[in-house]
Amino acid sequence: MKKKLPDELELARDLLDKQVVDRDETKMGRVDGLVLELREGKPPRVDHLEMGSAVLARCIHPRVESWVDALRRRIGVQKTGRYRVPWAAVQEIVPYQVKLDVKAAETPAFAWEHWLRDHVIAHIPRGLKGKAN
């Protein structure tokens, strides 16, 4: 698949904090972090995007990150609080979202969504939804 990227990017504005969708346009999180690789004699390159609770917690304070991580390990639903998306997986950047060439359901970003679906939602009878639209 051909990537659709603008010719020039302003990383903070065009990438960071943007809504992330998978190849079926399912919303799977936001660009919580962005990691640059520093190279000797060559310009820094975007290595990967990061998503997850640990990334957000780190922005508040490194100590908050360790609390959030301890909590995550205790609950045990998510294997990682830091989901890394390699730059190669970025498919399209438009003003309102970033599209990845992945399937949301197969990523750690959907760990909670799946756990809640299987352990809570599945036990409540659903109504007319899903048939609408």
């Binding site: 809504q19 919303k27 919580d32 309102y96 909670w112 969504e113 799946h114 809570v120 939602i121």
Partner: protein, 406 residues
Amino acid sequence: MSMKKAATLALGILTSVGGFFDVGAIATSAQAGAIFRYQLLWALALGTILVVFLVEMSGRFAAVTRQALPDAIRQQFGFTSWLVPFVVLTLIHFLTLGAEIGGICFALHLLTGLPVSLWALPVAALVWLFLWRSTFSAIENSTSLLGLITLAFVVAAWRYHPPMGQVLAGMLPTLPHHEPARYGYIAVGLLGAIISPYLFYFYSSGAVEDEWDESYVAVNRGVAVIGMGFGSIISVAAIVVAAMVLAPRGIQVDDYHQAALMLTQVFPFWGFALFAVSMGIACVGAAVELSLAMAYTSAQTFGWNWGENLDPREDARFCLTYTGAILAAALLILFGVDPLKLTLFSMAINALVLPFVALPFLLLMNDRKLLGKHANGWISNAITILTLVVAIVLAVVSIPLMFLGG
């Protein structure tokens, strides 16, 4: 205009029934009319003008950028800047949701005679079931249709032939003849009840749910004026009726029971039930709006999948957010928090956080890179800056007033 676009009016009326004429507007309008007759109508008029513009802006923003406000705020200002307002707003939305659920419980208490707190859990179940089972357009259409019953206030006001001269004079701000602290407190409450932050988060998310695009910009303008105008007319009518019925008898509204007498004179047989049903429906609309606003805001802040039209299996976190919010807010009423006190308190803090809502709004609406030719013109900017100034004055004034007038 296509049918689909004409039907968008439902979003406006729903936003208005729930967001404008809600438990807070009922309480503060009844108090304003009962104590100061028509003298506080200016606060309502000012609030209406501001809210029409702000609602129009949030709709225009969503139509042009396909983004709802919380989504855009997180993207534009970053997670750390948004974190504190997000937490504070969630807390306020929670308290306001408690007040609205209290309003529904009170309406049912009027109709059945059973205690208010007894209704807390059944009401929570009812509101939740409504959200869980129906689609966004079903919620929109049924609530806005049922919301027309609040027009009973307008009919009542019209039948009383209020002194038009005094009503018009009330549209201009004047100094109070008595109880200045109370006057200020009610004015703040009225504005806080009208310009609630959740209104904009809900309305813009609703526009995204209804898949608006740039062609909706003109329709949106009409929806904002008609929808908010609807809520405003009903609130004016509530003030007029309170001024005609309660004020001459010296009845102040210190309790919702006193407000419940408002329509009993003009509609001897139906008045009591009409008041209860109007209050109940307005509060259902608001409770639906608030719980969705909370779910929209959280989902957009963290990027979860969201939408009232999705099967709950596809947006588990979104659905469970409103589920948890409704349940927790109902506990406030179950444990006997006074609905009127909770209402007045949450209206005052709604006014308090308004500056933090209006400022990012002003910045977003002027971003040409996002909005292109649909960015704000000078009139909209002047109104937003006026809102910001009013909001800051309110915030500064409302703290001492909370102790003096509350």
